[in-house]
């Protein structure tokens, strides 16, 4: 196992386009010297990794590669872009588009992350101990290709439009989410252990969203189908009971919302509509 430690040498003042920081890229570079000469963009100036990070090789070994970033990486953007294997661990906050277009491998963040976490992700696993920004696992502007595989786990809260245009894969949010979780969703599963600020599943065509906390109002374009005692997500069975809504009917959608019955008493009036 080869592992590389990166420590920012200064407090970054401008965004750093750091998509060069990925296990595939470092593995291809093989020698530490070459890794040090990888190029990132500090605002509008290209810079070698070594000029803005202390680059240290912790272990020298075989195939699999681990990258550790220690310190405030919140200005780093696109870290782990398109990675296919290996791991990245961030001890501290990470920035925007972390794990963008990821195909495999693992990213672990002990801290918060910016928006577009795992955007267009195809495989692999991301785990964030703190909060995430908006557009977790979403598509890029104008595209309908959201997350299509892999797993994202955010222990803290997340912002708006979690899983926007999501096609497949799994997103689990430990805390709360903002509005429009699962907007334009086509498939896959989102589990929200906290509450949402409403409008979940807007324009969804397929896939499932499970909310254990409060959802506020359900959109008028969802109709209640049944009450289920358990939501099966992968192997584990999340205990309900859940109101199960179908929609978004305004877009002829066939997605499902699983909303905790006990935490959403104001939705009881829907029960009269269950055949």
């Amino acid at each position: 196992m080869t592992s590389i430690l990166l420590r920012p040498r200064k407090l970054f003042k401008v965004p750093i386009e750091a998509s060069a920081i990925s296990p595939d890229n470092f593995a291809a570079a093989r020698k530490v010297e070459e890794i040090k000469n990888q190029v990132v963009w500090e605002g509008n100036r290209p810079a070698t990794l070594a000029s803005i990070f202390d680059v240290e090789e912790l272990e020298q070994g075989g195939e699999l590669l681990e990258i550790i970033i220690e310190g405030d990486a919140s200005k780093l953007r696109g870290v782990g872009k398109g990675m296919g294997s290996g791991t990245i661990t961030v001890e501290g906050n990470a920035g925007i588009r972390l794990g963008e277009a990821m195909r495999g491998g693992t990213i672990t963040v002990n801290g918060n992350v910016g928006s577009w976490l795992g955007s267009r992700m195809r495989g692999g696993r991301i785990e964030v101990s703190g909060d995430a920004g908006d557009y977790v696992g979403s598509a890029i502007r104008g595209s309908t290709r959201g997350m299509s595989g892999g797993q994202i786990v955010v222990r803290g809260s997340a912002g708006n439009e979690v899983g926007c245009w999501m096609r497949d894969g799994m997103i689990r949010i430990g805390g709360n989410v903002g509005q429009f979780a699962g907007v334009h969703m086509l498939g896959g599963t989102i589990v929200i252990e906290g509450s949402s600020r409403g409008r979940i599943g807007a324009s969804m065509k397929g896939g499932r969203i499970v909310v254990l906390g409060e959802v506020g109002r359900v959109l008028p374009s969802f109709s209640i189908e049944e009450i289920r005692n358990v939501a099966r997500v992968g192997e584990d069975r999340i205990p309900g009971p859940f109101y199960v809504f179908a929609g978004d009917l305004a877009d002829d959608g066939d997605g499902r919302l699983y909303v905790s019955k006990d935490r959403n008493l104001e939705l009881r009036f829907y029960e009269s509509y269950i055949e």
């Binding site: 928006s115 577009w116 920004g133 908006d134 557009y135 912002g159 708006n160 439009e161 903002g178 509005q179």
Partner: protein, 131 residues
């Protein structure tokens, strides 16, 4: 009293926004329009000063009777630096800050002043560390 703040264009603000340091602009942009019933509940007469507070900041404004009511529970403030002392810079990933629909607290601000633009900037931007 809990209200929702909505900012927007007004003719008076539009006519004077090219003369930012004029009194006319200060009157136009530092005045909030309150629903007549809300005003009476608050015990505020038009022209008196009110203080608005949101999660992002607070500002003193002149209160006026809304000519575009009813809108109980909504306070309208024309676009400008006074309104923006209250609004949330969070854009939810869209680039657009939240300039309409923020929850706020409104109360009578008997003594403290409604600041002119110069004083408002001095207050708002005081810890303007020169990097």
């Amino acid at each position: 009293m809990k209200v929702i703040v909505v900012t927007g264009r007004s003719i008076a603000q539009g006519r004077s926004k090219e003369s930012k340091f004029s009194d006319e602009y200060a009157r136009a942009a530092a005045t909030c329009e309150v629903d007549p019933e809300d005003l009476s509940t608050l015990g505020v007469k038009p022209g008196q000063k009110v203080k608005l507070t949101t999660s992002r900041g607070s500002v003193n404004l002149f209160a006026s009777v809304s000519s575009q009511s009813p809108h109980r529970g909504i306070v309208f403030i024309p676009f400008g630096p006074w309104a923006n002392s209250l609004m949330d810079a969070e854009t939810d990933g869209t680039g657009m800050p939240t300039l309409k629909g923020m929850e706020a607290e409104i109360e009578l601000a008997a003594e403290d002043e409604v600041l002119g633009l110069k004083e408002l900037l001095a207050k708002n931007l005081k810890e303007r560390g020169r990097t």
